[in-house]
């Protein structure tokens, strides 16, 4: 086996589109037509999915643990929200502004985060999250504090599509942003840069030995991840036209971590699948089973899924898929 590895030419991962991926994205488009009453929920699932993908970049690929990723989500949300409150309601530029400020905050804090190891990183990200939460809470004259930021007025998307009541624009806009970012990120993780991230995750001490700058790579992916999280936050602010203090809360950081682990970290799609399963389950359970005790059932679901598939839903599904295809050949 080691011989095999040694003699095999080094190749980048195959990044052709698998048929199942195409089915997945067509499914998201079809959902728009099939469930017209669920478009608002759908748009929030897509946004949470994008947020989970951003966490996957640092956790799943570079192995940087974080309990405060909502910090960047919140910075993006407040940036886009405040722009619109103060008269600039153009969605696309607002989106990029959210990503830019989140990237700046991400770049600035990345040096603090990448210094330590896992436990220190957990503490550091947690601390940064708390800092920003309380700062936004104290700066109530800007952010609205606990009462939230209202008066977010969005202009029409491309000057044509209003952010309508039933979530049509919100869903398609979120889906388009998610897809474009996903295509870019898919390329990033399949590049030599992406491979070096996996190297960092697996054996960070050996990375300098192959001539790759460890800290710079970590700073780079942390900044990219913060920018993507900021874009997700900006999307939420724009589609809900409100920013609550909870965008920066610890519970949002924890929830996105649960979603990513549930779906499966380290493969981009995990975050999306996790968001779909978690939020659809939450909606069904709290609507049809019990508005008061749905957390019991979601807890049961989480335990059951992780018990059956240790690496999350995607790992479990991959194992089943492999077994099936092997059986056929």
């Amino acid at each position: 086996m080691p011989d095999d590895v040694a003699t095999r030419p080094v190749r980048l991962p195959d990044d052709r589109w698998h048929p199942l991926e195409i089915v997945f994205w067509l499914g998201l488009v079809t959902a728009f037509f099939l469930f017209p009453g669920y478009r608002v929920l759908g748009s929030q699932i897509l946004i949470t999915g994008l947020f989970a993908v951003s966490l996957d970049l640092i956790l799943g690929y570079a192995g940087i643990v974080s309990l405060g990723h909502a910090a960047f989500f919140g910075v993006g949300a407040y940036t886009a929200g405040l722009l619109a409150v103060y008269g600039w309601g153009e969605p696309i530029t607002g989106l990029f502004a959210g990503a830019a400020t989140a990237a700046i905050v991400g770049y600035g804090t990345s040096f603090l985060v990448v210094r330590g190891h896992d436990l220190a990183r957990l503490m550091m990200t947690l601390g940064i999250g708390f800092l920003l939460f309380e700062a936004a809470n104290k700066a109530a004259f800007v952010t609205g504090g606990v009462d939230g930021l209202s008066g977010v007025v969005m202009w029409k998307l491309f000057g044509v599509f209003t952010f309508d009541f039933a979530g049509r624009t919100a869903y398609l806009y979120s889906l388009a942003v998610l897809f474009i970012l996903f295509v870019v990120l898919r390329r990033v993780v399949a590049s030599p840069f992406g491979l070096s991230l996996i190297g960092i995750r697996e054996r960070s001490r050996r990375i300098p030995a192959i001539g790759a700058p460890l800290r710079q790579r970590e700073v780079a992916i942390f900044t990219i991840s913060a920018a993507v999280a900021g874009m997700a936050g900006a999307l939420l602010a724009q589609t809900t036209q409100f920013v609550g203090l909870d965008v920066l809360s610890f519970s949002r950081s924890a929830e996105v971590l649960i979603i990513l682990i549930l779906g499966g970290a380290g493969r981009l799609y995990g975050g999306l699948i996790g968001a779909v399963v978690y939020m659809v389950a939450q909606d069904i359970l709290s609507t049809y089973i019990s508005a008061a005790y749905w957390r019991f059932w979601i807890g049961l679901l989480l335990v059951a899924i992780v018990l059956v598939a240790h690496g999350g839903i995607l790992d479990g599904a991959t194992a089943i898929y492999r077994r099936l295809t092997r059986g056929r050949s």
């Binding site: 608002v40 939230g148 009541f165 039933a166 409100f242 609550g244 508005a291």
Partner: protein
């Protein structure tokens, strides 16, 4: 494939529309956006109890239509979820009324939605002044903090309390309450000797209470959200010996909410608060209400102001349905709501036709023990108080 998708959608939506249309013929749907789980669950529980009690007592049919209550959970102060649930209740469930909202941010986030959909919306708790001004389709049956705060400031002045330390939770209602108290109290010659704002979530009151003790005021003015925080504060107040130091406790009635008063225990004795409802309010209407509540939810259950507001909100829906003969139109409903009078367990209340906010009597009460149980016993009142803003 695309045509098949469209066809399937068309069929599905036709079926869905047909079904909802048939249902809409004979039901009036009420969508409740409530904080059913999370730290504010006790408020939502009281509100749910209040609404369901009214429906149980008055039957679920009015003007030939069945009233259907749909409860959705915001999981706490989550404005994005509250807004989405409001949208879904309107777009998917075709509700005729939106009700609920224990918390201000959730109500504010929903305001643009109900305006766009022209759905009459009844705020059953959230108490920041500004809420009802954010949508012409919103009304409030609970209270505003300035409304219930001003009377305690006046009472303090009349009773020779001149130096007060204020402590409020750092969010909309807390700031409203603090501002009103300071304005009324200092205008009457009182002096604020210190003020603190405590975090909205998970506060540790110890250091704050020590600061109050060190400042040695004649009274402490407190506003905290009803529930767990109030219990924690009152225990700390006692443990650090503030009552022995001659520091009295005053404020709006949230800290000594009826539901948690027994859990706070004897340390609450003597606290003077102003509020619009006490379960010890003496009137035939309230006696009947408390009896119905304990019959329905157990002998030890204690109805609080949150349940009364929800009960009155449901009464408002029944009245609107009767007057509109079961056909709910947003604008017509709001016209009926403006100026509406309700004979509530707290005394008569009415809706201000200008602001759509509640006008009610505010009582001054003292925590006392009767038959081994703690109650807020009313001893003074100010009739027809409006939100001062």
């Amino acid at each position: 494939m695309i045509t098949r998708g469209i066809l399937a959608t068309a069929v599905a939506s036709a079926v869905a529309f047909g079904a909802s249309h048939a249902e809409a013929q004979n039901t009036i749907k009420v969508g409740a956006v409530l904080e059913v789980t999370g730290p504010f669950a006790s408020l939502a529980k009281q509100m749910t109890n209040g609404m369901q009690l009214y429906m149980k007592q008055h039957g679920d049919t009015v003007a030939g239509k069945r009233i259907e209550l749909i409860i959705r959970d915001t999981t706490g102060a989550q404005p994005d979820i509250a807004r989405r649930l409001t949208q879904e209740l309107i777009a998917r469930d075709n509700v005729d009324f939106i009700v609920g909202f224990a918390l201000t941010p959730n109500a504010l986030a929903a305001a643009p939605v109900v305006t766009e959909a022209k759905k009459p919306t009844i705020i059953m708790n959230a108490a920041t002044s500004v809420i009802v001004s954010r949508s012409p389709y919103m009304t409030r049956v609970s209270m505003t903090l300035p409304q219930v705060t001003a009377p305690i400031a006046e009472w303090a002045l009349k009773n020779n309390i001149k130096k007060v330390f204020t402590l409020v939770a750092d969010y909309g209602p807390g700031l409203d309450s603090e501002a009103t108290f300071k304005k009324t109290f200092t205008a009457g010659g009182g002096q604020i000797v210190g003020e603190v704002r405590t975090p909205f979530t998970n506060p540790d009151f110890g250091p704050f209470i020590q600061r109050i003790k060190d400042a040695a005021p004649e009274a402490t003015f407190i506003f905290l959200p009803a529930g767990e925080q109030a219990i924690a504060f009152m225990k700390g107040f006692q443990e650090r010996g503030l009552p022995q130091a001659g520091i009295r406790l005053i404020g709006p009635g949230d800290v000594v909410e009826d539901d948690v008063l027994e859990a706070i225990g004897d340390v609450a004795l003597g606290a003077i608060t102003s509020h619009h409802y006490s379960m010890a309010h003496e009137s035939p209407q309230n006696a009947a209400y408390v009896k119905a509540y304990t019959d329905a939810y157990g002998a030890t259950a204690r109805p609080a102001f949150t349940s009364v507001a929800a009960y009155d909100g449901m009464a408002m829906i029944y009245e609107v349905a009767r007057r509109l003969n079961g056909v709910i139109d947003g604008d017509k409903a709001m016209e009926i709501i403006k100026g509406m009078k309700i004979d509530s367990a707290r005394g008569a209340i009415s809706i201000d036709p200008e602001t759509r906010d509640v006008i009610q009597t505010v009582y001054v009460r003292r925590v006392e023990k009767k038959n081994g149980r703690l109650f807020n016993v009313e001893f003074d009142k100010i009739a027809d108080v409006k939100d001062p803003k």
